[in-house]
Symmetry: D2
């Protein structure tokens, strides 16, 4: 079966194509009584794409979002909230070359096989980064819901093109500095180096990848439904739904597999009357539940597949080998654009689990 | 809501505790007409735990599995298959110390908070590695279903305690050598070094982690349901359901984030009339669907949390700091035991997606 | 949790309010390769409301539907299909009286309690017959999918205001005559009597109910997933999702409970080389699966709750008893409007179960 | 896909066959902290089958239930609760005649087609009334959970073999008298007439059907998740999962379709400071949510299909017409046995919706 819905209690059903009428999402299960205006959503949408034109591909006209249902007198009603973002400035002609020649690293080939040749191939169609616009507006709702419980989700670039922010940034930098540069990095110096890596790849007709890190502060203890809808399980699933993701890890992650137990275990202490741990190698997840420490996860993004450099490919209708140099505007790096997407997706996952856990009520009272 | 079921078409509902009557699973949605005997399941169960007593903790009496429903005259009927494995040799007395003192790195603390003090704390109760016995027998059914489509899942140890098998093993070694040593590693030389690392940690009252790698061969193109029940999304979710997992990556994984697009893209060619790629950095997943290349993924396991070394902890009923040295039999490394579990879980995920995709029929005809 | 989605494989997520921007639905899981144009949907929408103004309440301007996603070059792509129907001609002012006074027989009171006073009360808001416009267009897609398997769903009025069509109509009348009269009844004579009953109630400021019957022809044997997603279970659930439904029965239904086994059992015979039954008291459902005989079910609709006659009610904000005469345009009977809705809902349920059963493929080839 | 699970938050996964090792259920999502002993379950199981041997078919040895998981120190832990009931006294030899000859009114024929001849045909196999033993013990847990919220579910026989209890019984009779007679009827006089009808049918080698009525008292307002997981939708779905059910109606039900709006609407008044209605034609359901009035529903059961009287049938392997007189012990009427099953199923549905609605907490504190 197809599957374009996330969540069980706070569900997000996503629809649309890169070059069709538009993209959007229906959020079902949002608590009633949340103050929600079009500005809340538009603001999130406006931050989605860095302003600096050199480092990202962007459509010329900015996106605008419509609330089609579920909000009455500026409050959510408990009914499903449908959000529509119309496509404009979509140049379908760019994509005619891709009707038969499959792009290396893209979903073109399996999509063609799976959907019997009926899938919309323009700009990746359904399997396009364009979908993330819908994720971001749905995530803006989730983040507002979380804020009512005091939970804050912060995502930022940890690494781009091999340039890595060596130390964990403090939340204040993550909160304030991230959106001040086009790399979405909480450290302006590292951001500059990352930008150089992106521009250098771009100059070569090539692309670079990177790592987005995300933290959630003030999560209560016990969020997550073991065994199988565990906190890490659910977030991992959601995060792999973002295009170009190749790895997800929590806390010390893959590095934990190289530590000894005595190094990796987060020992307990009591601080200001509250149980806490000396370290956070677990990334705030124990046995699939939040531990009360900050949630910490990292998401690896591969370099964008669409590059100007010539690559070997195949024309699937003629079954002939060919060479392909992907034309048109393309991102030399998706990581900066991915930062608000990771933030949105983590927020969506947390709200779903917190409603399921009975932590977020169905009606938010003022 | 609690959640102890995996899958939508081929569902596995898992139940039981480490020190209760037993553990088990109900497999619902298994195609009718699969030849299935108790020996098929017992054989998988027997391979679960390496024979070498030095490297693993093990209960003294071997496990036996009962088929409670869903099989008639040695064939599956299409009805739910319930499998029960009774616990024996469970020493509950070992765990009385843990009633109030929470073990660092374990789920004790969030479980106590979430379940209001009612959870079974003996041996981790529900949140115990013991559950993986149920995963393995359910996975044995999934693997038999896959074999009817020619799909083979192979898991093996790639890294333990910092000792890493440098090159990707060939499938033949993975198939034949893996279960010949107690490290479950397809390379006997690396296995020996890994074993040293495990025994050295054990001697120190400590533990080590590692990485399990898993491949699936002969997957058809198009397995996986984008956007959100994608091949990588579903497998990642399932794999994080295994205790001690801290990271999951596909193909080049986190390393892909350090490559350029021209390096990471898997270029296409035609080989023996079939579309294939020169490299497999994608790990056989494109746009959330199988690409026709071998599926390749890695799972990071943290070092076991139960160690003899003294650690700082907290007595949660008295709200007092204390020191804890976890007594009893404990694994110095879970990676060898995790190999058949990863294999089982990947098989379960693949069958679910292949039934959903209409690739595996509801009735298997001979 | 809220729940505005139907189905597991062919899912319909419904959104919108009576007096907001509009209503709509997202169909996820529609097979790729179905020819689908806006005319297919508009035609279904145009038949939704009988033309005769005396017997129904209707908005002045006709509805138009937009395909927002999932269709490319007049074929479904396998991506989610979002359908939007904008509201026009909605007189919100009619409803200010209902902000605090709850209408007998309506959902006003429980909705107010459940959603903490945040629900949109205008015209019933989310809980309005208006939603059925979305059901009908989603159902039009389902019916097109079914037609590819030769399955036809026919609904019609069996009873209105106590006037009952005594004999089961033949499929040809159901197919041709139903939409020729404003009662949606396959018998023109009975239709005339029903119309009198409706107009008589209307003249009294009152309303009448009735029964819609629905049959599905050429269903293959074995549709339905026992035990719990059985054919009758799933259809009953879906049908109770239609406003004003108070009962659902299959075949002989409640009457079967008054028969003896020897009367009620449908005995088998072989006819033209095919196994068939002498009677169809089962309504084509045995053990939750289709039997190969025509599916036959009936749905009881209560008389509309909005009536001009004065009724006792309560002002919930003042907690005072009051009298209410519901003003505005209201249906004296919803049965004629319900006929295409029942047809749509049954079709949606059947497609879902047929995809789940592997009977309808994921890609429809021409 | 197969489907043997009910519910979303409080899920019941049912397994087993009539003549295999046993039947059982896994309840996942039960709140932690519920006092639960084997006696609670055994007591419910003991009431399942009337003692009077003349009116029911029964196995000779009584059933006993085992708690396999999820309960620790006589309290639920929040982990899945698996309940096993082993089969004894199953005479498989009785059923060899049914391997190829399909019983009229039974699921034999569609099951054979759907499951490719692999289904267990002994005693109906998976599709047997035997499954209801598992429903009853799962329901006993649900009823205990409900009792913590003051909600009581009462089911009883309203009609058997055309003998109908004319007036709605009062809750006290329903509570006390129902299990005092073998008809499970709250009126002893009507019970006697019903018994005569059953015995008369039995004497003729025939069977009779009837109607079970069920009420739930003290339900809070707002239980049910519109649009599609509405209170009536969910209960109807669950109830059609009981073998032999052909119709479900709420409140005035089918009769409501013959009333006028002014008769059927339940007008509001204030009584003892509480909003209530003068009548309860809605059966306590408005817009898919509980209204605060008693839930009231009726379930139509067909006469049992297994009768001694000769019927026309077909040998499906030879494709030949034949005559069948079903031998062995069979129920002349399932209604008395169905009473505790309806009660159990309604309780299961209510707990699921009340947890989903945030009304029942995840941990029950004493």
């Amino acid at each position: 079966m197809w599957s374009n819905s996330l969540g069980k209690a706070f569900t997000v059903t996503c629809f649309g194509e890169s070059h069709g009428p538009g993209v959007g999402a229906t959020v079902d299960g949002c608590p009633a009584g949340l103050s929600l205006t079009i500005e809340d959503l538009q603001q999130a949408l406006d931050l989605r794409i860095p302003q600096e034109k050199e480092v990202v591909s962007t459509r010329r006209e900015p996106d605008t979002v419509e609330i089609f249902s579920g909000v009455f007198q500026d409050y959510t009603t408990g009914a499903p909230i449908t959000l529509n973002i119309r496509n404009r400035d979509a140049k379908s002609s760019d994509y005619e070359q891709l009707k038969d020649v499959v792009r290396p690293g893209h979903a073109d080939y399996p999509a063609k096989v799976k959907y019997g040749g009926f899938s919309d191939y323009r700009g990746g169609g359904r399997l396009s980064g364009r979908m993330t616009a819908a994720f971001v507006v749905a995530g803006a709702i989730a983040r507002k819901v979380l804020s009512r419980s005091g939970v804050e989700v912060l995502a930022y670039t940890r690494e781009i093109g091999g340039v890595r922010l060596e130390t964990l940034p403090n939340p204040d930098d993550a909160r304030k500095v991230t959106y001040e540069n086009s790399m979405r990095c909480p450290d302006p110096v590292a951001a500059e180096e990352m930008r150089d890596a992106v521009l250098s790849a771009k100059a070569d007709g090539d692309s670079v990848g990177g790592v987005v890190e995300c933290t959630a502060l003030n999560l209560p203890v016990g969020v997550g439904e073991p065994l199988f809808d565990a906190l890490d399980s659910e977030l991992a699933k959601i995060l792999f739904g973002i295009p170009a993701v190749k790895g997800v890890e929590f806390g010390a992650g893959f590095q934990a597999s190289r530590l000894r137990g005595s190094e990796n275990n987060d020992q307990y202490e009591i601080k200001e009357g509250r149980i806490t741990t000396l370290t956070n190698n677990s990334g705030g997840v124990l046995g699939g539940m939040s531990s009360g420490m900050p949630l910490l996860l990292r998401v690896a993004f591969k370099p964008p597949s669409s590059i100007a450099k010539a690559q070997k490919s195949v024309d699937v209708s003629r079954m002939e080998e060919t060479s392909l140099s992907v034309q048109g505007r393309h991102d030399p790096c998706v990581v900066p654009k991915a930062v608000p997407v990771v933030q949105a997706m983590v927020a969506i996952g947390l709200v779903d689990l917190m409603i399921r856990g009975g932590i977020i009520p169905r009606v938010l009272k003022s």
